[in-house]
Amino acid sequence: MSKCGCFTPRLPSPEDKNLNIKILGAFLADPNGGKYDDSLPTFEYIPRFSHFDPTHMKKVRRIAVDLSKKPCKEMIRVLSCLKNTYPSSVYIDHLARVALHKHPDTKFMSVPPPYQTVPSLFFDRDLRHGRLEEILTHHDTLRVAKLDPEQLLAWWREDPGFSSHHGNWHLYYPFDESPVFERQGELFAYMHVQMLARFDFERLALGFSRVEPFGPSFGWDKPMKYGYNPRLVGFSARAGGMMIPHSASNGGRRVFSLDIVRQTHELLNGIDKGFLINSQGRRVPVTMNALGLCLEANLTHSTNHQLYGDIHNNGHVLIAFCGDPDGVWDIDKGAMMESFTAARDPVFYRWHKFIDIFFENHRRSLRQYTVNDWDALKNVEIKSFKTIIDDKDAVNLPAHLDLTNNLFNYMGKETITIYDPEPKEITDQGIKKSIPFSFKLNVRNNGRKDAKAVFRVFMVPYTKEPHEVWRLLAVELDRFVVPLKAGEDREIVRSDKDSSVILPPELTVGHIMQGKTSIGSKPPCGCGWPRNLLIPRGQPTGMKTKIYVLASNWAEDGVNPEEGLIGSIAYCGKLGGPYPDKRPMGFPFDRNTTWGETKDKSGRVYMPEFDEAIIDKVPNAAMAEVTVTYLTKHMIEAEEAAEKVKNKEFFQKSTPVHFSKDNFSNSEGSSSDSDDDTGKIRRSLSSLKFFYG
């Protein structure tokens, strides 16, 4: 280990491998293993454990710290005993992860993914017992989706990789008394706002409106129209039409709805005045980080826990216990009570949209960006930028498809081994997957000095809204550092699998059993966006999106300019170190941009002007118009059929095209460009303003 406690790659020794296999014992119950035997007298089991309850988090931390002071072997023995005593307990799993993370010997060891060790949080009972298909046919799925539109996004919300990303993020950025990471509050805001952006992106693809906030003064006192059934053991369903209770209690701590309302006003007042009041009564300036710590709400680093309370966590508690706020009927908690399951519930996004209102209020008060802020790396010019699909054969795409600036998604299957606690293989049928792609950039450094550029890649759906509105839809795809020699043209090909947003391939239980360990490869925090959800699903007819890339100066931006951006740093930071990028998170879409001269008197920048300005004024930025197509099962089948008869006019056949050609006149790729009919129609279809028409 390096001095700073940061992760430094080194070659794994055989001891590491053995230790890693032993660590598995803390996560997998052994029916013949030892039982808990009073060897840890301070241990206290928490039956209704929740990640959003500060008292629970404090207890866990205390126990984990105690454990991490023991010798490594002893700690693992105790954890294995606990696991055998409570084989399906979420609490024990959480404790093991925290304790292992705190112990210096095991800090950088691989831990198995949570969806393998506590599958009850990720897969519904029926899937775990091989009965999912039956359930879906018993209840008419189509009817279900018609009545509950949120059901159409269940594949996204309930993706196991996504759930474990959110859970692991909260695991490594706890709000308890642990030492706070630098910029943790800001990352709290950024990670969740990116979840919202991605969720909204998927919603727009389905023709839904963007998610609406739900919280005090946003429908908080009216019934929640839609309910949600997590179908997980140990969780209860929420019926439609439930109200937020005036207070709720998860065992000891009682949470009051009125407190949240008051704290909301206090915090909003602070943001608008520009200062918060700390616990000594002094004024401290509002920053994104301070705001994030107040909201999350960090027990020791919140500016004033007494005054600004615990808005984010308490909202989770109130929503989760709306059916049984006093624990009278012994009703299980709702999905919102657990960080691994909270993001499955549609109301999670409404709640976080509300939390984001605080951040938005603050962002609005910040200085707006101008061309100078964008032009952050002089003399570097991005000459061309596009996406390509290089590994065409691997995915068996038809030959006629245009693979440039076209991305494809489909719904696939994933077979996962779960330990329930016996090992069991299940097949999740609804996993969205994408066809692997790369960004291809041609960059030239016109300067006389070598430069180190950091490329920031964002994806935005095509929209007619002004910049200040669509800014929130910008989804970060990648951030990477490339050295550019003076006067050199360079072609950069960056694969999606290297993205700094996504979680690098994890080591599963099977891998660890075979003796693999993450020492020597990548940091093993388990936090990171799942690769299969990196790009939104798009639409069957092709969804028009734009990908922006901006190069900025890594020598200025980087905390350590010698080091690149390895692992899933964008949403999860760097394990044990500071956030490596000094810029505000989400730069350059973290706040509004004005170009100085706009056609709109209000100063609003719309997309065409924005693009124009990028091309004209910001040589170190580029934009690509990318079509994201969702290959539905029906389309793939039709495609295969078309392949058989060698008929190239697949799109004409499979999509109901009954408009006249004149309707396509506003499509900017004019039909005369192409002599191929198929391509023409496809382009035209993809340019239909699907949801803003």
Partner: protein, 713 residues
């Protein structure tokens, strides 16, 4: 004593002279068979009940022919489900009995936890000519997961690979510690929990379940006075429930239904802790959706507005005194048949006067309240207990809903001609005394002597809670030394019981000839609400109704509590059916449990009134030579007319007025004074046990003390 008892063969329901062999075979059709040959070659996940008809090669021939498949979320309150049961059952009744048995052995093993299969089996065997007289096993033994709470049936669901199962998982080890009755922390908030022991009594639940099997609605024609009995049976459940509520300091049950607050959120939540039922949160909003999906037939929806309309139509029919059969014909709601027509219409059986106009009020209410969590099935939340006749009375809202139904009956009753006391007089007959005598067994005597509250043996009921053991089948739980073929387990549950007692009635016959007298015994709590007797009329609980013939002169009649006409006689258990030789008596299993015959009362002694009335059985009885044997009061007699011609609940079925014909009778005392052939006596009901809360605390203290001692050692 010359009781003109009917011969034993004339009981409530048939009883059986069945051969032991057939009995055993039919029993097997109710037991999950892990060695069933059809399932031996199955691997994990290879079998899905949905596909078994087309894919599974070992499927039973009869099952395949009739296309029987398990129905998820089956409910007796959904008409379409009942028609399906009837359709299949009618066809099965024409098949040889061996084929039927084989079909059910297959189905039981394929879908061991299907309430649909269980219901179908019971209906089929009860009606099949070859098995009509065969006693069937008790439902709580066969379907334990529908009658015992999660903590009771510890992981007791069996799972053969891939088969349609409900899997019980106990994630929280603390839940296993909770006993079946009061939870000390929660009872403070949820007052309804105070009488959870009553709502969860197995005898009461099986009574309700079997009543609905014995009195089905479509597509069969209703039985004799079915509608009236529907009203009366549920009204008596309410009366008994109110009695228990008053004893624990709760108010009488409040109605909940269209026009009675169901457009506002339902304050009470409920968690049945049954594996098949979902929980209901506090303030669940029934009106969050106006449309409720019921079944898959057409129309498959019912709206709250529809329910309101049906209720208003029935209300106005009661007000004008007739129901519309069609545009021209009216059905009068008179004294004789009015209750029956109204009951049939509300139960919406084939006797409903006009189903299009008056709808399916009672059943749809059950379905709507059962689906309050998920009106359109869009979240795939399973229904709540109100959806299942086995589980519905566990839910406090069941009684609130039935209070609403009963209010409609009460509206009708208030329109009927008053009952004049002079019509109740039985000339020449007078009751000189009436008392309740304790008849404790040796154990009971000990119990009484131990308790400090025991004071007198006359006109005093004593109740206590006792641990009852039940043997359950079709579960994974096995105990050592159990039946080797079929795994069984024992579970215990606390239930109320009382010290046995008998009634002693001294009756005087001044007439010259022998009289056939029916005695009607009721119990009501003493209340201080004031007002005429009519205010507490619906609180009279029927305890017994029996026929005795009395010669001229005075006679003392003694009647045991376990002879009561409301209770269910002891039924053969699975073990009896399997092992006992010789004929075995099996009733239709409908009947009030003996252990709940007397309400629990209070520890300090709850005051009540016991009332008896004698009337002429030659006039009242359907057949003067047979009495009210079996559990005829609440369940009638199978294959025969309801034995008592009087309105059910007589003489408390409607307002009683004095001889002047208009002023209502003020008190029970006045009533007895005016009617010499009746008698009332004050009684006290004392609950011998302590509050379970205290008991629990003491248990916990004792346990912790023991732990400390062990640690010290």
């Amino acid at each position: 004593m010359q009781l003109r008892m009917a011969p034993a063969a004339d009981g409530c329901c048939h009883h059986s002279q069945s051969s032991k062999e057939l009995r055993g075979k039919i029993l097997k059709a109710f037991l999950y068979d892990s060695k069933h040959k059809s399932f031996q070659d199955l691997k994990d996940g290879a079998f899905s009940i949905k596909d078994h008809l087309k894919d599974h090669k070992n499927v039973d021939a009869t099952v395949k022919e009739l296309k029987i498949a398990a129905k998820p979320d089956f409910s007796v309150f959904i008409e379409e489900d009942m028609r399906e049961i009837q359709r299949i059952s009618d066809q099965l009744q024409r098949k040889p009995i061996n084929n039927v048995i084989n079909a059910f052995r297959y189905l039981r093993t394929a879908c061991p936890n299907s309430t649909f299969v269980d219901h179908l089996a019971r209906v089929t065997f009860q009606n099949h000519p070859a098995s009509r007289n065969v006693p069937l096993p008790a439902p709580h033994q066969i379907m334990p997961f529908t009658f015992f709470k999660r903590g009771k049936v510890v992981a007791a669901q069996r799972s053969i690979p891939g088969v349609d199962n409900l899997v019980l998982e106990l994630t929280d080890p603390n839940k296993m510690l909770q006993d079946g009755d009061i939870l000390p922390t929660s009872a403070k908030f949820d007052k309804e929990r105070r009488i959870a022991w009553w709502r969860e009594d197995l005898g009461m639940l099986t009574h309700h379940y079997n009543w609905h099997i014995a009195y089905p609605y479509p597509p069969k024609q209703p039985r004799d006075r079915q509608g009236e009995l529907f009203g009366y049976m549920h009204e008596q459940m309410l009366a008994r429930y109110d009695f228990e509520r008053i004893a624990v300091g709760l108010n009488r049950v409040q109605p909940y239904g269209p026009g009675f607050g169901w457009d506002k959120p339902l304050v009470e939540g409920f968690n049945s802790q049954l594996a098949m039922c979902s929980v209901r949160g506090a303030n669940s909003n029934l009106s969050s959706s106006n449309t409720y999906y019921i079944g898959k037939g057409v129309p498959n929806t019912i709206s709250l507005d529809d329910m309101k309309r049906y209720k208003d139509r029935i209300s106005s029919a009661i007000a004008v005194g007739f129901l519309y059969k069609d545009a021209q014909n009216k059905v009068m709601l008179d004294l004789k048949d009015g209750m029956n027509h109204l009951g049939n219409t509300m139960q919406a059986n084939q006797g409903s006067v006009n189903k299009t106009l008056y709808g399916n009020l009672h059943n749809n209410g059950h379905v709507i309240l059962g689906r309050i969590n998920d009106p359109s099935g869009m979240y795939q939340i399973p229904p709540g207990p109100m959806n299942y006749d086995q589980a519905a009375p566990r839910d406090p809202v069941f009684f609130r809903w039935h209070k609403f139904i009963d209010n409609l009956f009460e509206e009708h009753r208030s329109n009927l001609p008053y009952q004049n006391v002079q019509d109740l007089v039985f000339d020449g007959i007078s009751i000189e005394s009436f008392s309740v005598k304790l008849e404790p067994s040796e154990d009971d005597k000990e119990k009484l002597e131990k308790s400090k509250v025991f004071s007198e043996t006359e006109n005093h009921f004593y109740t206590h809670m006792e641990n009852k053991w039940y043997k359950i089948y079709n579960s994974n739980a096995t105990e050592e030394g159990g039946d080797s073929d079929y795994s069984s387990a024992s579970v215990s549950q606390k239930a109320l019981n009382h010290i046995p007692f008998s009634y002693e009635i001294k009756v005087k016959n001044d007439n010259k000839h022998e009289q056939n007298i029916v005695f009607r015994i009721f119990l009501a709590p003493e209340i201080d609400e004031g007002g005429p007797l009519d205010h507490s009329r619906t609180m009279f609980v029927e305890l017994d109704k029996f026929v005795v013939s009395v010669k001229k002169g005075t006679k003392t009649i003694k009647r045991q509590d376990n002879q009561s006409s409301v209770i269910l006689n002891p039924q053969p258990t699975v073990e009896d059916i399997a092992t006992k030789d010789g004929p075995l008596r099996g009733d239709c299993m409908c009947g009030w449990p003996l252990n709940l015959l007397v309400p629990r009362g209070t520890a300090a002694g709850m005051r009540g009134n016991i009332y008896v009335m004698a009337s002429d059985w030659n006039k009242d009885g359907q057949d003067p030579y047979s009495g009210m044997e079996g559990s005829a009061s609440y369940c009638g007699k199978q294959g025969a007319k309801y034995p008592d011609k009087r309105p059910m609940g007589f003489p408390f079925d409607r307002l009683v007025v004095n001889r002047d014909g208009s002023s209502p009778v003020g008190t029970l005392g006045e009533f007895v004074e005016a009617v010499p052939n009746s008698f009332s006596e004050k009684v006290t009901i004392t609950f011998l046990d302590k509050w379970p809360i205290q008991e629990k605390r003491e248990d916990a203290k004792r346990a912790s003390r023991q732990r400390d001692r062990q640690k010290g050692e």
